[in-house]
């Protein structure tokens, strides 16, 4: 009775599943790219995925790969859905994947425990679990160039430098999921030590496009500054609402996921003055980006809709993600002396990465971002962010790199990491020097 037909299909598929091609050609570097070109957040996912793929394609075209080994980027579509992300992981890990960029907090959390078992590092660039910055506790996870917590401390430093933060009221509007709530412990901690007051405005996922209630409260509370941890449709809505209640937009700062061209293009002129944090340069002027245009975009090998999209905030961030990986691969190749490396070598490469200003210049990315240096204990690089301002039709860098408050944040990160591993006795850490 029951699943007879299904059984037959299943058996047929089982054989098909076994026969899936696993072998890769000699000397290639296989990097799966979990994308979300579909689904509710596709607007942000597409430029990121384009920048990521184009940089590796450029290396293949210009230099013949990395250290003589071609890079194979295989995209797997997650639609920002954790279950599909895990499926993508299972589908690609057997092909010799070097590293995973989960591109979603949910998928990152699902992959963190798997990474040490399968020996494939997870590189969640500026998202995911902040506590993963502690290399002793999370040997296989990297959050370069910095964490959400560090970013928040940099933003507060900016506020402090622009009129002081003491005795001010700071409004925090955030997406009411794990991602948005993550900085809350730090915010509360700093509000005591720095002496400011916090007003919180959660925005539910379903109310992303209807924030009138929150902004009504903002109008009532009159915070001196607003900080936003938003994503997707929440960002343009918030900026529009802020403009509507005449909140001074140059006192409204978004985090680095709340400050892309996709977010503000639909707001346009009325969003003029809005600030956002960022860690990757804007525009096409960098020689590396020019190389992408020459070697990939002009040859029609890129998926970008138009050439103008190259160099926008999220495109460049996707590219930066690829830059860090390419650099880590080189470090790993130098250590092993072989062209094709394993996930464990990749982990070494990521841990010993050193993207200083000289190296960035060599790569054609002078001034693109701050220097990045990893170590066994430090998996975040404690990088700096800068602030950019929306001019009405484009982003403009308005501040220098702002260092995070490492002295405050680091102990909190260590505490969080301890908490994460406390109920997982089987979670393997590493001893650092």
């Amino acid at each position: 009775m029951n699943i007879k037909k299904l059984g037959a299909i299943a058996v047929a598929l089982a054989t098909f599943g076994v026969g899936m091609p696993v072998a890769q050609a000699e000397d290639t570097l296989f990097i799966p790219s979990l994308t979300y070109r579909t689904g509710p957040f596709a607007g942000g996912g597409i430029p990121f995925a384009d920048g990521f793929a184009d940089y590796f394609n450029m290396l293949n075209e210009r230099d013949g790969g990395i250290g003589g080994a071609k890079v194979v980027v295989e995209e797997c579509e997650t639609a920002y859905n954790t279950q599909k992300g895990v499926e993508c992981y299972e589908a690609t890990k057997g092909k010799g994947a070097l590293v995973y960029n989960p591109l979603s907090t949910g998928i990152t959390l699902a992959l963190i425990p798997k990474a040490p078992v399968d020996e494939i590092p997870v590189f969640s660039m500026g998202y995911g679990l902040s506590a993963a910055a502690i290399g002793e506790k999370f040997p296989w996870t990297f959050v370069y160039p910095t964490t959400y917590w560090n970013q928040l401390s940099s933003i507060l430093k900016y506020i402090d430098a622009n009129g002081g933060v003491k005795d001010k009221k700071i409004g925090f509007i955030y997406l009411d999921v794990g991602y948005g709530k993550e900085p809350l412990p730090l915010l509360e901690n700093l509000s005591e030590s720095m002496g400011f007051e916090v007003a919180k405005y959660p925005v539910g996922v379903k109310e992303m496009q209807n924030q009138s209630a929150q902004w009504l409260n903002v109008r009532k509370d009159r915070p001196d500054w607003m900080i936003m941890w938003g994503w997707g449709a929440m960002n343009p809505t918030a900026v529009k609402e802020a403009a509507k209640i005449r909140y001074p937009l140059d006192r409204f700062i978004g985090n680095w996921w709340a400050g892309s061209h996709n977010d503000l293009n639909s707001v346009g002129k009325s969003g003029k003055g809005y600030l956002a944090a960022n860690f990757s340069g804007i525009g096409q002027e960098y020689p590396a980006v020019q190389d992408i245009i020459t070697h990939v975009v002009d040859k029609g090998n890129s998926k970008v809709a138009s050439k103008d999209d190259v160099g926008n905030v999220l495109y460049n961030r996707g590219m930066y993600n690829a830059v860090v990986l390419a650099e880590a691969i080189m470090v790993a190749q130098a250590k092993t002396g072989t062209k094709s490396i394993t996930g464990a070598d990749m982990r070494y490469g990521l841990e010993n990465i050193n993207l200083d200003d000289a190296r960035l210049k060599e790569l054609g990315l002078e001034g693109f971002t701050g220097a990045l240096k990893g170590s066994c204990a430090d998996h975040e690089g404690a990088g700096s962010v800068f602030l950019q301002q929306w001019t009405g039709d484009d982003w403009e860098k308005v501040s220098d790199l702002i260092e995070p408050m490492n002295d405050v944040v680091r102990p909190l990160l260590e505490e969080a990491a301890d908490k994460y591993v406390s109920d997982k006795p089987d979670f393997k850490g590493q001893a650092c020097g």
Binding site: K4, T35, T38, E75
Partner: protein, 360 residues
């Protein structure tokens, strides 16, 4: 042809009342079980087990849960995702509070919490019916989702707001956590689903199941014949939510490994609703067919370009698979509005009377 029953005589009442009265069905089921328990773990690849079979079984169980409520007791529910969440969160809470308690016991206990919540949200069903009831279960969905975000105790005050599965052992073998191999996880899920399906099949053809079906077909008539609607409806809610809860706990503990509230959102309620409708309301076979159709088919479609090394963008394939699935849903619902299970049943009847199509 295959189903010729000639020579199968039933000499006792027990034979006549057997779960599978036809010998071919028994052999077929046995073959399926042998394939599932022996052949699959031996021959299937890791990807096949962890990305196709495990989710398929989890969703089948959830679909059975919803089908009990919708297909057998006639109470429309849109809260399946949230009831799965209750199971998952209570399983997580219990196993972190009592780490030494066997995870399988915890798993089965966690369904009880889900059942209790299901009963509470089932109370309005005593007064309202149909679409109106669907709205109240929708309220359950939103309320419980809110709880999963707001009540930090539920996820042990994790900064990430997610529940993360700790490692648990059975007979010295890791069955949850990152060290559990797909084969062990698959076998655990398969055993749980097989046993629970058997229980459901027996409950449904027994007194309780029949009272649910009477309520479904006409509740006033059922009441006049001595069926207590209070007990029947609430027991249906409890039973259904228990299944959904265990499915949710299985989903997090044996498949995903960690879960945020998004894993239990309204989309999952709809997904399982579609499985039940496509598979066939009021049929356990249909639950498996529906789960295979809605979950497994897209996975296979997505795997086609890599398997044949076609140069199609993953995102394009995603769109194509949505289109194909959508068209197939419409096609099957036009061909057979009662679902895939009905198609199978019709086919089986034809086979039983072959070559005399006019026999009944």
């Amino acid at each position: 042809m295959l189903y010729r029953e000639a020579g199968q005589f039933k000499t006792t009442y027990a034979d006549d009342q057997a779960l599978l009265p036809i010998a071919q069905d028994r052999i077929g089921l046995l073959l399926i079980l042998i394939v599932a328990f022996v052949a699959m773990p031996m021959f299937a690849s890791e990807f096949f087990l962890s990305s196709i079979m495990i989710p398929f079984l989890v969703f089948s169980l959830a679909a059975i849960g919803l089908n009990i409520l919708m297909g057998f007791a006639g109470q429309l529910s849109l809260g399946t995702g949230a009831f799965m969440g209750v199971g998952a969160y209570s399983c997580y809470k219990m196993t972190t509070i009592f780490p030494d308690l066997n995870i399988l016991i915890v798993l089965l206990l966690s369904g009880l919490f889900s059942a209790a919540i299901g009963v509470v949200f089932g109370l309005p069903s005593l007064r309202i019916k149909g679409l109106y009831l669907a709205i109240t279960t929708l309220a359950a969905q939103f309320f419980l989702e809110w709880c999963f975000i707001r009540i930090e105790w539920l996820y042990n005050y994790n900064d990430s707001g997610a529940i993360e599965v700790p490692q648990r052992m059975l007979f010295g073998l890791a069955i949850t956590g990152p060290h559990a191999t797909p084969i062990t996880r698959y076998l655990v899920i398969l055993s749980v689903v097989a046993v629970m399906t058997l229980v459901a099949a027996n409950v449904l053809r027994g007194r309780i199941g029949r009272s649910w079906m009477m309520i479904r077909d006409m509740d006033i008539a059922a009441e006049l014949m001595g069926i207590r609607p209070l007990f029947s409806k609430l027991s249906a809610f409890a039973f259904s939510s228990y299944y959904c809860g265990v499915a949710g706990a299985l989903m997090v503990f044996f498949w995903l490994g960690s879960a945020e509230v998004e894993s239990f959102d309204i989309n999952h309620s709809f997904l399982i609703l579609f499985m039940v409708i496509i598979g066939g309301m009021g049929s356990l076979t249909g639950c498996f067919m529906g789960a295979a159709f809605i979950w497994v088919l897209p996975v296979i479609l997505r795997a086609i370009p890599t398997a044949f090394e076609l140069d199609i963008l993953a995102a394009t394939m995603e769109h194509i698979s949505s289109i194909v699935i959508g068209v197939l849903i419409i096609f099957f619902l036009i061909v057979e509005p009662h679902g895939l299970a009905r198609l199978w049943r019709v086919g089986k009847e034809k086979l039983r009377t072959w070559p005399f199509p006019y026999a009944n």
